[in-house]
Symmetry: C2
Subunit: 334 residues, 2 copies
Amino acid sequence: MPVTIRDVARAAGVSITTVSRALNGHKDVGEKTRQRILRIAEELNYRPSAVARSLVTQKTRTIGFLVSDLSKGRIWHYFMLQILYGIQDRLAELGYDLILVNTTTTRQREISYLDFCTERRLDGVIVINLRLDDPYLHEVVESPLPSVVIDIPLVSATCGYVTSDNVYGAKLAVRHLIGKGHRTIGFVNGHSQAAVSHDRLRGYREALESHGIPFRPELVYEADYTVEGGRKGCELLRTAHPEMTAVFFASDLMAIGGLHHLREAGVKVPEECAVVGFDDIELAEIVSPQLTTIRQKRYEMGATAAEMLVGMMEGKTMPEGRTLLPELVVRQTS
Amino acid sequence: MPVTIRDVARAAGVSITTVSRALNGHKDVGEKTRQRILRIAEELNYRPSAVARSLVTQKTRTIGFLVSDLSKGRIWHYFMLQILYGIQDRLAELGYDLILVNTTTTRQREISYLDFCTERRLDGVIVINLRLDDPYLHEVVESPLPSVVIDIPLVSATCGYVTSDNVYGAKLAVRHLIGKGHRTIGFVNGHSQAAVSHDRLRGYREALESHGIPFRPELVYEADYTVEGGRKGCELLRTAHPEMTAVFFASDLMAIGGLHHLREAGVKVPEECAVVGFDDIELAEIVSPQLTTIRQKRYEMGATAAEMLVGMMEGKTMPEGRTLLPELVVRQTS
DNA sequence: CTTGCATTCCAAAACGTTTTCAGGTACATT
DNA sequence: AATGTACCTGAAAACGTTTTGGAATGCAAG
């Protein structure tokens, strides 16, 4: 029942070819006919079918946003949301649409993400939060489907990545703390199945060593990027090392967990223990005391990913890795 | 280059009709041929094209999630995210996919959301955060495209809605405060272009009056659902009415803004001024002191919306309004 | 031997576009 | 008058499915 190109053609007394050309702005159609066709299409409220167009052009102008662990209680997505905005904004500018794919639920459908993408004939895919040990990670990276992964440094013939310079970010944090006079600095890291964890650890270590402070593995706790994990990590480190005067957390959420512990323990922040987070999610500014943290340019990461992907899809750019510089945001916890 | 049904048919030595029937589980195909076809399809790694299928079935099995004001600095989406999960989860179960539509950017494309939906031939749409004065609101509601709006009580032949019982929720909050002995209770409301604002105001008023406390309009401040708006509202109400011992906020974000003001002003919470929010976003539990609030079942709202929509689309249910009961969550600010 | 009925398969149409190739007209150049 | 050259238009193929309406086969019943 929706009006088709055929209806427009009939009403205008021309062939569908001419209608198609008039609407798509080809130049080989007379000015008067073009005007007439446009007017009639308008009158009939004609909207070309994207699915018919996709079938013939073999492009859907749709890209998938593959996010794993999208589920009820999780709040790590506070981090992801700005990235999503960046993707969606840039994609809209470029004339592409976004379809949301939850890897957890596609798995329920007993179909790999890749199969899902081919069924829907997606033009490309942006992947976030995939663990390094995800069984399908390499399937995605190696597949002919253009893709961009976020925060996993992998490049292939069809896959690029976007990430922050996590080594540098961690260095910023630690240097800042050292500058404030701290010498015993703990580190609550995220789980090791995220590439960023390794980089942040390295940055932590190198910053210490470059200031002549020996790296002590016992000052590092591996948590899991959750509030509760951060709380626990902070508690364990503090009881084991009461002399510790500052803690660097690999995420804001964990830092907030750490603050919870410190408050309960009656430790003054930042006087008795300074805290620095990572990410600069909106919470960092809302929580009190406001959190000193390393700002990741999340919106830009998303926009960059979108841009890279479209560039690859349209054959204009080669897959590459892009690394954005984070920056230190000093607030009240340091 | 992807393998088509034709390739499978050729390899199996049957017609494409038979392949189609075999794959879709129709019964008029011999058992041996069915097995052979399935095996060959598997071997060739055949994935049926959703777009070709959509063209002929006239269904895309895709629904749109229309969200307005999805942009860089906004954080109201902390509220929306759980709803999104609910939608996406239920939709995945039902075999539908979700496409994200930002009304702000479609407007840039100079095309109404509705036109966008018809171009993509979406099967239905879920709308959130549309202001009552949105120019396209009624276009969406009245259009033949099945739709479900969230938090706007509108029903038409093709449009249902899901919302919380906001009157009841506000009553819960105010009753709770009255039970704690408060008699002068301020109310920081959101803007009036949200239907929920009116209901929450009504609940506030009725709860007061049913306890013999007169409603005083000067104790109500109309903010805008932002942290800063809540801060300002709280400040204004307190300076104008120092005798006020409790404030009810129409959202957690505003309540958190209020807490900021109270902390700066050195007001003890909840001893000198109690605070109750609305929504129960994750922040409410993370912030300190932890926020007493009215919990909206956001995930369920999303799941319900998805379910209703699919029911309507498949002609199994009539459009209706569904109202979920919120509940009081007492924490530290009251 | 016909008729009827399952069972299993297929040819062809349809969905709504884009694009290729060629046809037609009008006009200027030989 | 024939040829060339723009310019505009259209018929038809193609994209990859589903579905309709038979057709062929085999077999039981008349």
